[in-house]
Symmetry: C3
Subunit: 326 residues, 3 copies
C-alpha cells in the first residue's frame, strides 16, 4: 500500500550519492578536503542534513554554515577553519554554483499537457475539469480536486484530501539572493523541494502553498485550511491545525499540531508556534509561541496581557485627569 | 421573465415535503413526536425556518436548537423537554445523520465538462475561455464572466454582473464538527446551500465566495467588490455595498445595504454591520456595528473614539513628565 | 530589437489626434473654445497630460480638473473660467460622455480562444497549459508563464519575467462613479489603460494586478512580488522593489525604486512611498513615506517612534501606580 514518505523529508536528494570531485568539476570549484567523499543532496541552510551540500557567500554567515549539519560547504573563501570531517568547495560565486547543481539535477521541464502522464492518481479520486497536474505528482485515494486547481511537479498529496478551486500547490519559493551592486538586485534561489500534503487535509479556494527551496513544505494529517491562505516555502504544519481565511505564513516556519490561526493572521519566517496554541484574528506573530498559549495583537503577545493593555489605554484620560487635579 | 428567487432564500429544500418516518428510517432514528409530520428541508442552526430539520450534538447547544425555528431536531438524547409542535429524531451521532440526509438529497456530482449542460446562461452574457460553470448554475443576461473564473454547482447569478478572472463562486463552507478524541479532529459539514448574486453586482479578480452550509450566501443588488475579497458561507450582503481589496468576511454574518469596508478589513462571523456603516482599512470587526457608524481599529470601535485614543497614547510621555516633576 | 515603451506611458491614446468638433458630436457636447483643436487621448484626472481630454462632474472638483494638465475638459457647467488655451465640452452627464469615448475607441472584444492570435510572444518564453492570453498582449523573451495564469488584453510583459500560477494581470480597475440618488449607486469607470511589466520582474501565485483606468499600471525592472499580492489601477512601482505575501496597494499610488513592503502591508491610494523605504509587516500606510524611512503600525508611522510608543503603553500601569501613591 502506498504511504507518504514522511518519516524522512525527501529534500533535493541526488539519484545516487555523487563524488565531491564530480561536483567540483561541474561548478569549477577547488576542493579542500576529501574529494572522494560522497554527497547525498543539496539543501539551503535552514534544513541541511549530514551528507548534504550547502552554500554560503557572505562572511557574516560563514560560521553558521560551517557549523551546520552540512558536510560540504560551497564557499567563496579559503580563510576559514574547516570542522572535522567536512570539506569545502571553493568558487567565486557560491550562489551560481548552487544554481548550476540544482539545474543539473532538476532541469526545468515544460509541461505540455494539463495532466501529466507521469502523475499517479489514486482510486476514487475526482479530478475536475481544468485542473493542472504537473510531472511526477502523486495523489492518493478518494481525494476531490476542484476546477482550476494547479498542482505543480513533484508534489505529493495523501488520501481523502480536498483542494478547492483556484488553489495553487507547489509554486516556487519567494527566496532571493540579494546584491545591491548589480542592475537586478534580487536573484531567485531555484526551488527544488516539494509540497507534501498528508491524509485528510482540506484546503480552501484561492490558497497558495509554496514548495520548499531544497526541502519540503508539509501540511500534516487532518489539518483544515480556509480560503486565500498563503503558506511559504519549507514551512512544516502539524496535524489537526485549523487556519482561517487570509492567513499568511512566511518561509521555514514550524506550526505544531493542533494550532489554530484565526483570520488574517500573519506569521513571520523561521518561527515555531507550539502545540495547541491559538492566535486571534489579524495578529502578527514575530516571535516563537509556546504550546497552549493564546496570542493576540500586531505584534502579537500573550492575549491576557494584550487585553489588559487595551484596558489600560482606555484609562489614560482618567489618569490625565488625576494628574491635572493633583 | 426570469427573476431571482430572493424574497425567500432557497436553502436546502427537499423536492417535496418528506415524512419524518421516512427520514427516521434513512438515518436510523427513533422519532419522539408526530412521525407523520412533513419536513420541508434541512438547515444549520443559524438559518433554520419552520418546517426545517436541524441537528445538535452537544448539551451546551440543546436548548438553542430546541428553541430555534426548526420543527424537527436531530439529537443524541431523549432527556430534553420538547417544545409544542416539534419532534425529535434521536440518534447516537447527529452529525453523521445530517451528513447522510444531505448526501441523499444532494449527492456529489462530478463535473465532466467545463461548462455543464444543465447550466442556463442568459442572452448577451459573455463567458470567456477557461471558465468553469457547474451543474444547475443559472446566469442572467448581459453578464461578463472573465477567463479562469469558477462558478460551482447550483449558484445563481443575476443580470449585468461582472466577475473578473480567477474568482471562485460557490466553494464549500469552512465549517467543521470538532471532536478532539478522534484521530482527525475536524469533520466537514457538507455544504448544500448556494451563492446567489443579484443584478448589477461586480466582483473583482481572485475573490472567493463560499456557498451556504444549508442556506444561501447572498450578494445584494449593485454591490461592488474589489480583488482578493473572501466572503464566508451563509453571509448576507445588502445592496450598494462597496468592499475594497483583501477584505475577509467570516460565515453567517449580515452586512446591510450601503456598507463600505475599506482594504484588508476583517469581519467576524454571525455579526451584523448596520446600514451605511463605514469600516476603515485593516480594521477587525468583532462586534455588531450600528447603522451609519464609522469604525476603526483591531479590535474595531467607533472611529472618533479610536482616533482620540491614538492621540492619548501620544501624550503618555508628557504625562510621565508631569508626574515625574510633581 | 523590441523595447518596452516606458519613457512615455502609453495611456488611452487615440490612433491619431482627433478634432474636438468630432468628439463633441460623438458625445453631444457644446464646445466652448477652439473646436478645431486636436485631442491626443483621454485620461482620468490623476494621470492627465497636455493634449488629453479629462472629465469632471462635481463642482467640488471643477477647479482641480480645470487646473490639471488636461487640455479639454468634459464638464456639466459653463459657469467656470477657462484657463488660457483650454476648451470645454459641455454635457449633462460627463461620466456617460467619458464612457462613450472609451467604448468608441476601445470596444469590448470578447476573447474566443485561450491564447489570442494577436498576442506576440518572444523567443524562449514558456507558456504553460491553461494560460489565458488576451488580444494584443506582448510578452518578451525567456519568460515563464505558469499554469492557470490570466493575462488580459493589451498588457505588456518584458523579458525574463516569471508569473506564477493563478495570477491575473490586467483585471479592470475598482474605480466607480458614485451617485446615491439612483437605484445602483456605483457605475464603473471603464478601464482603458494597461499593465506594463518590465524585464526581470517575478510575480508570485494568486496575485492580481489591475490595469490603469486610462493610464498604465507599471511594475519596474527587477521587482519581485510574493504570492497573493494585490496592486491597484494606475499604480507605478519602481525597480528592485520587494513585496512580501498578501500586500495590497490601492490605486494611483507611486512606489519608488528599492522599496520593501513586508507581509500583509496595506497602502492607500494616490500616495508616494520614497526610494528604499521599508514598511514592516501588517502596517497600513495612509500618508506619503519619505525615501529611506522605516515605517510600522496601522496607521503606519516612523518605526522608531512607533516602537517607543509600544514601550510607553507598557508603562501605563507603572505610571498609574506612581500617581496613586503620590
Amino acid at each position: 500500500m502506498w504511504k507518504l514518505p514522511l518519516t524522512k523529508f525527501s529534500n533535493m536528494r541526488f539519484p545516487t550519492p555523487v563524488a565531491l570531485s564530480w561536483i567540483a568539476e561541474l561548478i569549477g570549484a577547488e576542493v579542500i578536503g576529501d574529494e572522494h567523499a560522497l554527497a547525498g543532496g543539496i539543501n539551503e541552510i535552514h534544513r541541511v542534513e549530514p551528507g548534504d551540500l550547502a552554500f554560503v557567500d557572505h562572511p557574516k554567515y560563514y560560521n553558521t554554515c560551517l557549523q551546520s549539519a552540512a558536510s560540504f560547504i560551497i564557499i567563496n573563501t579559503k580563510e576559514v577553519s574547516i570542522p572535522e570531517g567536512k570539506a569545502l568547495l571553493v568558487v567565486n560565486q557560491p550562489f551560481d554554483a548552487y544554481t548550476a547543481i540544482v539545474e543539473y539535477f532538476r532541469p526545468f521541464q515544460p509541461a505540455v499537457k494539463p495532466v501529466s502522464d507521469t502523475a499517479k492518481i489514486g482510486a476514487g479520486t475526482y479530478i475536475a475539469p481544468q485542473v493542472f497536474i504537473g510531472e511526477h505528482v502523486i495523489i492518493g485515494r478518494n481525494c476531490r480536486i476542484q476546477p482550476n486547481v494547479t498542482i505543480l511537479e513533484h508534489c505529493v498529496i495523501g488520501d481523502d484530501v480536498v483542494i478547492q478551486s483556484g488553489t495553487v500547490i507547489g509554486s516556487d519559493a519567494f527566496y532571493y539572493n540579494t546584491k545591491k551592486d548589480r542592475e537586478n538586485w534580487y536573484r531567485r534561489m531555484l526551488s527544488c523541494g516539494r509540497v507534501v500534503i498528508e491524509d485528510a487535509v482540506e484546503i480552501g479556494a484561492g490558497c497558495t502553498i509554496d514548495r520548499g527551496v531544497s526541502h519540503d513544505t508539509v501540511i500534516g494529517r487532518g489539518t483544515k485550511i480556509d480560503n486565500q491562505v498563503h503558506i511559504g516555502h519549507d514551512t512544516i504544519v502539524g496535524r489537526n491545525c485549523l487556519f482561517a481565511a487570509q492567513v499568511g505564513i512566511a518561509g521555514a516556519t514550524t506550526i505544531e499540531d493542533g494550532v489554530v490561526l484565526w483570520g488574517q493572521v500573519g506569521v513571520n519566517k523561521t518561527l515555531t508556534i507550539g502545540k495547541n496554541a491559538v492566535i486571534y484574528a489579524q495578529s502578527g506573530v514575530g516571535v516563537d509561541v509556546e504550546p497552549g498559549k493564546i496570542y493576540f495583537g500586531s505584534p502579537a503577545e500573550d492575549a491576557s496581557i494584550k487585553k489588559r493593555e487595551l484596558v489600560w489605554i482606555k484609562r489614560i484620560p482618567e489618569l490625565w485627569q488625576k494628574v491635572m487635579n493633583s
